[in-house]
Symmetry: C2
C-alpha cells in the first residue's frame, strides 16, 4: 500500500493511489447479475463463455449450385465439360438424406447441408442443366470450395469470450449462435451525484441575482450514463459539514451506490467542508488532495470503507475533465474492465493545431478544441474561455492533452484530439 | 425523382435513390416528443434552443480574494504595496449589498457576485491582511481580471443549439444552466427485425442437423440500439410469400415501426420471395436490388407507402456491414440528423496494414481487421474468413474500406480503421 499523498499528485500517481486503496476484486465479486442477451449491449461479461458446440454444426454450402465430389470436376472446362448425374435436391433446414457416389451431384442452396460423400459445391453459374438428371460442369472446383466446414465458425470447447469483455452487436450474435440466451454480467455501478454550493439552485427554479442553476448535476449524470454507470441524482446540499455528511451516508446506505461524486466547492471555505466530510466517513479517508491537471486542480479523492468518493471541482469544464480521468476508469474497473482514459480512448483523430497553445511544465493541460475539416484535412482550433464557462465545452468537439513536461504546442503541429461522444 | 434502378448500384447511388423516394421532412414532422433533460443523452433536438437569459447572469468572481477597483491596484508590488479598506464580505449566493468606492475592498469567494463599483478581483495569495479593516495588495490586477462577466458564458437571445443536434453531457448541462428542463426531441425510430430462412430456428431452441440458430435477429437488434433506434424483435418467418407479407404489414400497423429489416434469404429461392413481397407492399416498391459492396451484394432496398424496408443478406457479416451503410444513416435521418457512415464516422484510427489485401475494381470492399498496438504504433491485421462466419466479426476490431476503383492495398500501407463501438 502506498502512503496517502497530501501534495498535488500527477494523474498517474492519483490512479495508483486510488487502486492501491480499493480491493476491486472483492467489491465486484458480488456485483453480478443475469440478463437476457437482448439487454446486454455494452454490458461486461462476468463469466467466461466456452462454446458448447461447433458452429455451424454441419458442413454448409455458401453458394447456390450442386454438391459434388471435387474430384469429379477436375479438368472440366468450357471446351471440355464434365457430366454428372443429378440424384435429387437438398431441402433447406433438414438433414441431407442423400449419399453421393462418384459421378453424382445433388442440387443445393446457400445455407443448406452438404450431403454425405460430397466435398465441394460448384456454383450454378458454372453449370448447364442438360436434362432432369444431367448437369454439365464447365469448371473445376477444389476440395471444400464454397463450403463452410462444421466447425469453421466455432469449435466446441473453444474459449469464446472472457470475463471482463464488453459486448458489441457481433458478440451478442455469436452468443445467440451457440444458444446462450442468458448471461452473467457485472452490474452497472450506481453513482450518486451531489452538488454543493450555497449559490447553486435547482435547474427548474428561477435564480435570484447572485444565484446560479445547477449544471454539474446534469453533465456528470450524463457522463455516468456514457460510462455505462447508473446515475443517481441527489441534488444540491448547502455548504454545511453535517448536511453533507448525512447526505453521503444516506445515499451509500439507501441508494446502494458504489461511488459518490460531490461537485462544487471551488471556493476555499466549501473545499474545506468537502475535505472535512470526506475524512469523517471512514477509513482510509482522503487520499488525494489536488492534482496536476488544468483545469481541475482542486480535486479530492477519498475512500471510506471500500466506497470511493470524489470531490470534483465546481467549474463545469473542470469537473467533466476530472470525471473522465478518474471516475470513468473507476466505473470500468467496477465492471471488471481496465479502462484508462488516456491510453484506451480510441476516439482520437489527428488534426492540425490552428494556433500556438502554451502550458506550464509539471501540469497536464486539457485544451478544448473545435475540430473542422477543410479540403479533406482536420484542423483543431482551441476554444478559449475560463473553465467556469460550460459554453466552451458545448462549442468544443474534444480535448487535446498537453503532457506534464511539455511547455506548449506550436501552431501547425499535429495533435491527437480526444473526441467527445 | 430518380427512376428506380434494377442494376447493381454503388452505395452512393443507393443512398441517393432511397433519399429521393422518402419525404423525410414529412415523416419526421410528427415524430417529436417532450423529454426531461435527464433522459436526453444522445437524443436529437427537435426544436431550436434560444437562450432566454444571460449566463451566469451576474458578474462572478472566479477566485477567492478581494473585489476591488482595478485602478486602486495599479503600481502595487511587493516592495511598494497598496492598502485598501475592507468594508465587508460578500455572502455566497446572494445579491451583493455593497457599493465599492475608491480605496475600498470587499472579501469575495469563488462563484460569488461582484459588488457594485468593483471591476476586478485580486487573489488572496497576492494580499496580506493587516488588520480587520485593512488589506495590503502586493500586485496589480487588470480591469475584469478573475471575473466572469454576466453574459460571458451565454447571451440572452443567442441561438444555443439547433434542431437536429445530438445531445452530449455538456449540452445537457447548458440546458440545465438556462432552466430548460423539458425539451422537444425526435422520437427514436422503431425498427422491426424479421429473420427468414427455413433452416433458421430461435436461438433458445436446440438445432437438429441442418438447422442453425438465429444470429441476425440479435446482431441487428443491437446495431439498431447502437444507432439510437428502438429494436422491435419479430423473430423468424418461414420462406413463404404470404407469411412474410402478413408479418410485415402487421408490424407496420400494430408495432408502429418506421423501418422494417428482413434479413436472410441468401439463396436464390428465398431472395426471390423477399423481392416479391417487397414489391407487393405498396408504392414505389423495390428501388435497389444488388449493391456493389463486398460482402453484402444481395441487398434489397424498398419503400412502400413512405415506409423504408430493407432486405439484408443472410450472412451475419454482410448484414452488419450493409446495416451500417444504409440503415444506420436512415435511423439518423429519421431523427433529423444527416449521418453518413463513410464520411461522418469519427471513430477511425490510422494503422499499418500487416499484409496485402486484394479487391476487385468496381466494388467497395469492407475488410475485417484486428487492430493491435506495438511500440506505440497501431497495426491492422486482416481477419480472413467467409462472410457467413460471425466469429470473424468477433475477432475483428473494425473495418477498412477499399474504394470502388482500387484494386487492393499493399502491406505496410497506412489505412483508416473504422472501429466498432
Amino acid at each position: 500500500m502506498t502512503k496517502p499523498l497530501f501534495k498535488v499528485s500527477t494523474p498517474v500517481e492519483a490512479i495508483k493511489v486510488l487502486k492501491d486503496h480499493l480491493d476491486i476484486q472483492k467489491i465486484i465479486q458480488k456485483n453480478r447479475e443475469i440478463v437476457n442477451i437482448k439487454d446486454s449491449l455494452h454490458r461486461v461479461l462476468a463469466e467466461e463463455i466456452i462454446s458448447p458446440c461447433n458452429l455451424p454444426g454441419f458442413n454448409r454450402s455458401t453458394m447456390d449450385g450442386y454438391a459434388i465430389r471435387a474430384e469429379d470436376s477436375f479438368g472440366a472446362s468450357e471446351s471440355l465439360p464434365s457430366y454428372l448425374k443429378i440424384i435429387g435436391e437438398i431441402k433447406m433446414g433438414s438433414k441431407s438424406e442423400f449419399k453421393i457416389n462418384p459421378g453424382e451431384a445433388v442440387k443445393i442452396s446457400t445455407g443448406a447441408m452438404l450431403p454425405e460423400g460430397a466435398n465441394a459445391v460448384i456454383m450454378l453459374e458454372y453449370t448447364v442443366l442438360i436434362d432432369d438428371t444431367t448437369v454439365e460442369l464447365r469448371r473445376s472446383v477444389a476440395p471444400w470450395e464454397n463450403i463452410v466446414r462444421e466447425d469453421e465458425d466455432l469449435k466446441a470447447g473453444e474459449v469464446l469470450l472472457k470475463e471482463g469483455y464488453r459486448l458489441r452487436p457481433q458478440d451478442i450474435g455469436i452468443l445467440a449462435g451457440i444458444g446462450k440466451i442468458n448471461i452473467k454480467v457485472f452490474k452497472r455501478p450506481r453513482v450518486a451525484i451531489i452538488s454543493t454550493g450555497n449559490e447553486i439552485i435547482p435547474a427548474q427554479d428561477e435564480p435570484q441575482i447572485g444565484e446560479i442553476r445547477d449544471i454539474n448535476l446534469y453533465t456528470l449524470g450524463a457522463c455516468v450514463e456514457e460510462a455505462d454507470g447508473i446515475p443517481i441524482y441527489k441534488g444540491i446540499i448547502k455548504d454545511e459539514v453535517d448536511l453533507l455528511e448525512q447526505e453521503i451516508r444516506k445515499t451509500i446506505k439507501k441508494d446502494k451506490v458504489e461511488v459518490v461524486i460531490v461537485s462544487g466547492g471551488s471556493s476555499m471555505g466549501t473545499r474545506d467542508i468537502t475535505l472535512e466530510v470526506l475524512n469523517k466517513l471512514g477509513k482510509p479517508g482522503v487520499l488525494i488532495h489536488g492534482v496536476s491537471v488544468r483545469p481541475g486542480k482542486p480535486t479530492i479523492i477519498a475512500v471510506a470503507n471500500d466506497k470511493p468518493i470524489f470531490g470534483l471541482p465546481g467549474h463545469p469544464v473542470s469537473s467533466m475533465i476530472i470525471f473522465n480521468l478518474f471516475v470513468r476508469p473507476l466505473i470500468s474497473w467496477l465492471q471488471g474492465g481496465d479502462y484508462n482514459y488516456n491510453s484506451d480512448n480510441p476516439k482520437e483523430v489527428k488534426a492540425e493545431l490552428t494556433c500556438n497553445v502554451v502550458s506550464d511544465s509539471g501540469r497536464e493541460d486539457y485544451v478544448r478544441v473545435f475540430m473542422y475539416k477543410e479540403k479533406g484535412k482536420f484542423y483543431a482550433e482551441p476554444v478559449l474561455g475560463k473553465s467556469g464557462l460550460i459554453s466552451t465545452m458545448v462549442r468544443a468537439s474534444g480535448l487535446i492533452k498537453i503532457g506534464l513536461n511539455i511547455e506548449g504546442i506550436e501552431k501547425g503541429s499535429k495533435v491527437m484530439v480526444k473526441l467527445f461522444n
